[in-house]
């Protein structure tokens, strides 16, 4: 048999990831389920780095593992619920298990038809992808191919992705936000059970976070700006910026952060990021190119045609970073404070 195309270590990671996934779902206590889910996501990042997908691993570590675990924990904190053991509805669980097994078998029926794991000649790696690898330098002078394809070749996808983040923020705002003053929606105000202990305001945690936050923010700006050369870009940088402010929310209390970032400022800047991205596209339209065709911006930007794309990508990444940062902060504050923007985690 030819040299086994399999990475021995990855099979080990994959098995452990499945174990983590299953335990995360079968755990009784919700909080521990959230923590195991966080561990599951971090292990997933490890697997993706081993497979060479560094940008995706970076995003998963920042967005998937970091922020979504914080969201789940904030929801659990606010509702203070833990999964009370209930009589299992065996009939329905079996039916659902049968459906899952049937779909799984149907999916596996296509197994022999798949290319082996990791062979460079598979149809995916031999049709459109070679164009990207060979022409990124010629087109946009950007070494990090992932950033070019993300912001330039398939820039429309990323605009829609930023719109998705923006919609998530407004959707959560309109679902949970209740300014109790003038809302007529009949919503019994079940205040979450007071937590077992009063939140700490110990000095050590505040000092530590006060030291860490500025460095986090500088590193995040570096990640956004340096997305052309090293793994990183708008999303990852934006999330780290958001995470630094969330760290402040946790170590100090919500009012401290809300004094600096008021609710209005957060929501406005979330919308502004999407506007920047769309405006760059519209500018290309007015300058004669197709939508999001940065070559059209050449007269405005320094350097030759390819460098116009280089700077176009940078502008777009900044727009993405702004939206992602403020929508992460917005989502966290609304989830943590159950929509009342007063006290929170």
């Amino acid at each position: 048999m030819a040299e086994l195309p399999i990475w021995q270590y990855d099979t080990l990671f994959l098995i452990t990831v499945v174990l983590f996934g299953v335990t995360a779902l079968t755990m009784q206590n919700l909080m521990s389920a959230a923590i195991v889910f966080g561990a599951y996501s971090f292990l997933m990042c490890l697997i993706w780095t081993a497979m060479g997908a560094v940008d995706v691993a970076f995003t998963e570590a920042a967005v998937g593992a970091g922020v979504s675990t914080v969201f789940i924990v904030a929801t659990i904190y606010n509702t203070g619920a833990s999964a009370k053991p209930r009589k299992p509805r065996v009939g329905f669980k079996l039916f659902a298990g049968a459906v899952a097994v049937a779909t799984g078998a149907f999916l596996l029926s296509a197994l022999p038809d798949f290319p082996a794991w990791g062979d460079p000649q598979s149809p995916v790696n031999s049709t459109v992808a070679p164009y990207y690898i060979e022409n990124t330098i010629r087109d946009a002078h950007v070494p990090n191919i992932v950033t070019t394809v993300l912001a330039d070749y398939r820039g429309f996808d990323t605009l829609l992705e930023t719109a998705v983040v923006f919609i998530a923020c407004i959707a959560i705002y309109s679902i949970l936000r209740v300014d109790s003053a003038k809302s007529t929606v009949d919503e019994p105000d079940i205040i979450a059970a007071p937590p077992a202990y009063d939140p700490t305001d110990s000095l050590i945690i505040r000092q530590a976070s006060r030291i860490m936050v500025p460095f986090m923010q500088i590193f995040a700006l570096y990640v956004i700006a340096h997305g052309h050369y090293s793994p990183g870009g708008g999303f990852q940088g934006g999330v780290i910026l958001g995470a630094s402010v969330i760290l402040l929310c946790i170590s100090f209390d919500l009012k401290f952060v809300l004094r600096q970032w008021t609710e209005k400022k957060i929501m406005l800047l979330t919308a502004l990021g999407v506007l920047i991205y769309a405006a760059v596209g519209v500018a290309c339209m007015f300058m004669g190119g197709d939508y999001l065709n940065y070559n059209a911006l050449d007269p405005v930007l320094p350097g030759d045609m390819a460098y116009a794309r280089y700077y176009g990508i940078l502008l777009v990444e900044i727009g993405v970073g702004v939206t992602v940062m403020f929508s992460m902060i917005g989502i966290y504050i609304i989830l943590a404070s159950n929509g009342r923007f007063k006290r929170g985690l």
């Binding site: 077992a196 202990y197 700490t200 110990s202 945690i205 530590a208 030291i211 860490m212 460095f215």
Partner: protein, 106 residues
């Protein structure tokens, strides 16, 4: 250079082993937290130091990568002891009582 890296990483792993055994064996909250805290900070720092030496011998830009790893070590030193402290503090407020020798409550 290579051998220093191997030694450091192995020592780091030994500490991790100690942490996991500690987590399983120790009777109550505080001692388990102590083991977790130690393993978390020390073994990570040792492994990272091993990485610095492992990277030091490749290419002429490696000192920059070494510097970046030093930064990471610095953050781990600030970050994880605070985390352990926070958990200890929360545990103490939540009323976890330390374990006493003569068969105190588990």
């Amino acid at each position: 250079m290579e051998y220093i890296a191997y030694i450091l990483i192995v020592v780091g792993l030994v500490f991790f082993l100690g942490t996991s055994i500690g987590l399983l064996r120790f009777p109550d909250f505080y001692t388990r937290m102590h083991a977790a805290g130690k393993g978390d900070t020390l073994s990570t720092v040792l492994i990272l130091a091993g990485c610095i030496f492992a990277v030091a011998s490749q290419g002429e830009m490696s000192w920059l990568i070494g510097l970046k790893i030093l930064l990471i070590i610095n953050f781990v030193f600030i970050g994880s002891p605070t985390a352990t402290h926070a958990m200890m503090d929360a545990g103490e407020r939540a009323g976890a009582k330390p374990w006493k020798k003569k068969g105190g409550d588990k």
